[in-house]
């Protein structure tokens, strides 16, 4: 991410030469349309998707009741919540390891800050610059009983590790079968405990290789669990669940939320179940299904649509995009009869296609309108075009409107 502007170094420019500032106005590389009502910057301070008070945080239905009554909360952003989860896992389970490129100094997104000094460089360390090495190494460590959390610096750079994930992590248990090993009964070779974390998604200026959201490349692969948290509270609980999970988990962290999304997070440790969607807002006329950053877009679009169109929308966060919670989604559609699926990555063969097809199979007779998909277009993320490419509030609003007016 670019750092905030600081005053221009005047000395550099000299007196006699034209300066950057005196003969034309500064054109920021990015601006928002001035009369916009829908496509305005997301307001994370007021969004109903974040827990703005301790009470909101502690009343979350996924939290164990003991924790609800005793835990204190802290306001954390997403990278701090990830850090808190990692710190908890490292301190309570000596099998947990954390490594990747630039992890030791805290990581380029600060998720591993202070963890190397706290837990030692045997357990939290920098790797050489090789994603296939990082993931392959993690698989080996997991297969021999550790719980490695491997960081890929950007989801865009996971592809060198694709073979390791698709052919190895996903298939290890299946190919090894089951043996009796005496003490603990039947066992198999698997790489449960393996979590591959990666920052993903658009930030407004990441272009081709700092914007990708490649979840659907992994949701096609049975054996991998693919998770994308929407907020700090969610990230902490889902990451701890991922580390406990007996299956390898791909944990995609929406990097635009690292700093933008701040909410109250319980200080105590907790897990949030994988493969369970969450209804963020009940409604009766249309179901909006999404995950990760676009949920905020959806929430803003829903507010506007409910006001303008006198409708009520249900908003569902898939949280785990594979294997996903089909029941929650189908039950919702059976109730509302209308569905809009929203995600950032390309529409073609995306998660939306799977959700739409499942709805069509499982709730066809209840459908009042075709399932709408709002997603990235079938192209790469060009630097200057991102705001036209990723789903925005106007597009989601329009899809809701079209669906209810069908």
């Amino acid at each position: 991410m670019p750092s905030p502007p600081r005053p221009f170094l005047r000395a550099l420019l000299g007196r006699t030469t034209p300066t950057l500032t005196n003969n034309n106005r500064i054109r920021p590389y990015s601006t928002a349309p001035s009369n916009a009502r829908l496509n305005v910057p997301l307001d994370f301070a007021t969004t109903p998707l974040l827990c703005h008070t301790p009470k909101q945080a502690l009343s979350h239905p996924d939290l164990p009741s003991t924790l609800r009554s005793t835990s204190k909360t802290s306001r954390l952003n997403l990278f701090q919540a990830v850090n808190a989860a990692l710190s908890h896992a490292l301190s309570t389970d000596e099998r947990v390891l954390l490594f990747g490129e630039d992890v030791a100094f805290g990581g380029v997104f600060r998720c591993s800050m202070n963890l190397s000094s706290q837990f030692g460089s045997d357990r939290v360390f920098n790797t050489p610059l090789s994603e296939q090495g990082i993931v392959g190494f993690a698989i080996g460590a997991a297969a021999e009983g550790m719980r490695p959390v491997a960081e890929i610096q950007f989801a865009d750079y996971v592809y060198p590790a694709f073979d390791q994930l698709v052919n190895e992590a996903a298939k290890m248990r299946f190919r090894s079968g089951v043996w009796a090993d005496g003490k603990e009964g039947l066992t198999s070779m698997a790489c449960g405990g393996l979590v591959v974390r990666m920052p993903s998604g658009g930030v407004g200026h990441g272009a081709l290789y700092h914007s990708q959201s490649p979840e659907s490349l992994f949701t096609h692969v049975p054996g991998l669990r693919v998770v994308m948290p929407r907020s700090p509270l969610q990230a902490k609980g889902l990451l701890l669940a991922a580390i406990e999970c007996p299956d390898p988990v791909i944990f995609m962290e929406p990097k635009i939320l690292y700093r933008a999304a701040v909410e109250h997070v319980p200080n105590d440790a907790y897990t949030i179940p994988l493969s369970a969607a969450e209804i963020l807002k009940p409604g009766s006329d249309v179901t909006v299904v999404s995950y990760g950053t676009p949920l905020y877009t959806c929430s803003a679009a829903i507010s506007a649509a409910e006001k303008d169109l006198d409708i009520s929308c249900e908003l569902i966060d898939l949280r785990t995009v594979y294997p996903w919670d089909r029941k929650t989604v189908l039950d919702s559609i059976k109730k509302t009869g209308r569905a809009v699926v929203v995600h950032e990555s390309m529409v073609n063969a995306g998660v939306g296609a799977e959700v739409a097809a499942t709805i069509q199979e499982g709730a066809f007779l209840r459908l009042e309108a075709p399932v709408q998909r709002v997603a990235g277009w079938s192209t790469h993320v060009g630097l200057m075009y991102e705001k036209f490419n990723l789903p925005d509030v106007a597009r989601v609003y329009d899809a809701i409107k079209k669906t209810v007016e069908y």
């Binding site: 750092s3 550099l12 950057l20 610059l129």
Partner: protein
């Protein structure tokens, strides 16, 4: 449209397969594939005859190779820190004062542009920038030793290569501001330059991916040279960092280049860091150079702050790369990353300020060449002042021109994925136009060339 048309449209001119000038017989180019002769062990032989290591002598001493006990590969230099020629007995390097001054000004241009653009990023005028501070000599010195027709693949800290090849300030600025004159059509992050005209492939952020491309491209050039004996043979030069050299692609590239005898010069910039990761955590061998030896590749290590040494080894590497039907060469150019990794990085989170200050004071390719030229009387304070101020003026003028330009037409968001837009993409463009038309206040298309019509559908 026939498949041939598709291929033709998809292939830029220079990349189209050339018609061979003579029949494509295997003998014209290389001997027929031969079976590896594997004569089994002769009785009493003192040599290994295993096919995997044909010249290894037998030994009765049980000894492991201990790399840590071997002396490190030496670092070649021509000038010392003060710009004085180290070996007074050697023949002076074959570079005229004018050529040296051109190299000097190229480095200066890069470093002045870097300062201006770094600060422009801080002002929010562009989204990102990366400087080459401390490494200008590697880029400019090596590029100057190549032929302009040699093909280049770069990482991202080789602005000097573009500058040396004549990529203009307007071309730099158009890319940085992602305006309608940018060859990348506003698609890439800043500093991801590329230019077919200058024979430099477009920079791609994923590290090391360009290294095997370079091997393949070199093989293409080698075959083309054999098929067109009248054309001057060309090589490929490929730049990358010591961090990138940890990727599998690096290893794959060196090995395939060696086995296919590709005329490619691999140029590793070893600047001590990959973002925060110091070389000590990147590898335990003797730098990157030792790996070349492992792949059977002729290798040299050079002082990257010594632009003449870089020039000399690159020139010789080019000669060797074309010698005897072609072969890869590895150059490891040593330097220090003086700057932060990029505008997104604050390197004082992982290295001490004094370390950086110390390096800056001790050595730098620009001051070294300046001292050298001054000692010869080819440069002085007045010339320095005049060069700096005119470069600065030119950079700022180009800056201002580029910042005023429109963004490329919106259609470029979808074009270029395939040679032709797909039916699905055409429909998506219509959908996008429709939504912008129905929600005009929600979108600002005025910055883009042609506004909404730049989408190209009615």
């Amino acid at each position: 449209m026939s498949l041939r048309d598709v291929v033709r449209r998809a292939t830029p001119r220079g990349l189209r397969p050339r018609k061979p000038t003579s029949p494509c017989t295997a003998q014209r180019f290389s001997p027929q594939w031969q079976r590896w002769s594997s004569i089994s062990q002769r009785p009493g032989s003192d040599h290994v005859h295993f096919p995997g290591a044909v010249n290894s002598k037998f030994t009765t001493t049980l000894d492991y190779e201990r790399p840590s006990e071997k002396p490190a590969m030496p670092t070649y230099r021509y000038m010392d820190q003060d710009g004085a020629i180290v070996d007074k007995n050697r023949e002076p390097i074959d570079i005229s004062d004018e050529e040296a001054i051109k190299m000097y000004k190229d480095m200066l241009t890069v470093s002045i542009m870097d300062l201006i653009m770094f600060d422009a990023q801080r002002q929010g005028r562009l989204s990102f920038y990366m400087v080459s501070a401390g490494e200008e000599g590697i880029a400019v010195g090596s590029a100057a030793a190549l032929n302009p027709s040699d093909v280049i693949f770069a990482q991202y800290r080789e602005t000097g290569v573009f500058q040396q090849r004549g990529f203009s300030l307007d071309e730099f600025m158009s890319q940085l501001f992602a305006n309608c004159k940018d060859y990348g059509q506003g698609r890439n992050m800043p500093v991801h330059y590329g230019s077919r005209k200058h024979n430099i492939h477009t920079i791609s952020s994923p590290l090391a991916t360009q290294i095997p491309h370079a091997a393949g491209a070199a093989y293409a050039l080698k075959l083309q040279a054999a098929q067109n004996p009248n054309e001057e043979p060309r090589i490929v030069a490929c730049y990358f960092g010591e961090g990138a050299a940890s990727e599998g692609d690096f290893h794959a590239a060196l090995n395939i280049a060696a086995t296919r005898n590709c005329p490619v010069v691999f140029i590793c910039r070893n600047n001590g860091y990959a973002i925060s990761t110091p070389t000590l955590e990147q590898y335990r061998g003797d730098g990157i150079a030792s790996r070349g030896v492992g792949y059977g590749i002729e290798t040299i290590r050079v002082d990257g702050n010594d632009i003449f040494a870089v020039h000399e080894v690159t020139k010789e590497a080019r000669r060797r790369a074309l010698d005897g039907g072609g072969k890869p060469i590895l150059i490891e150019a040593m330097s220090y990353r003086v700057s932060h990794h990029s505008t997104s990085d604050d390197s004082f989170a992982y290295r001490a300020k004094v370390e950086v200050e110390d390096w800056k004071r001790r050595d730098n390719p620009i001051t070294r060449l300046r001292k050298h030229l001054e000692s010869k009387g080819a440069w002085n304070e007045d010339k320095e002042k005049e060069a700096r101020s005119s470069i600065r003026k030119d950079v700022l003028a180009a800056f201002n021109r580029a910042e005023k330009e429109k963004r490329p037409a919106l259609r470029n968001m979808m074009e270029g994925v395939y040679a032709e837009l797909t039916e699905e993409q055409e429909a998506q463009i219509r959908q996008l136009r429709d939504i912008i038309e129905r929600y005009p206040d929600e979108y600002d298309v005025s910055e883009f060339e042609g506004g909404l019509d730049g989408l190209g559908v009615k």
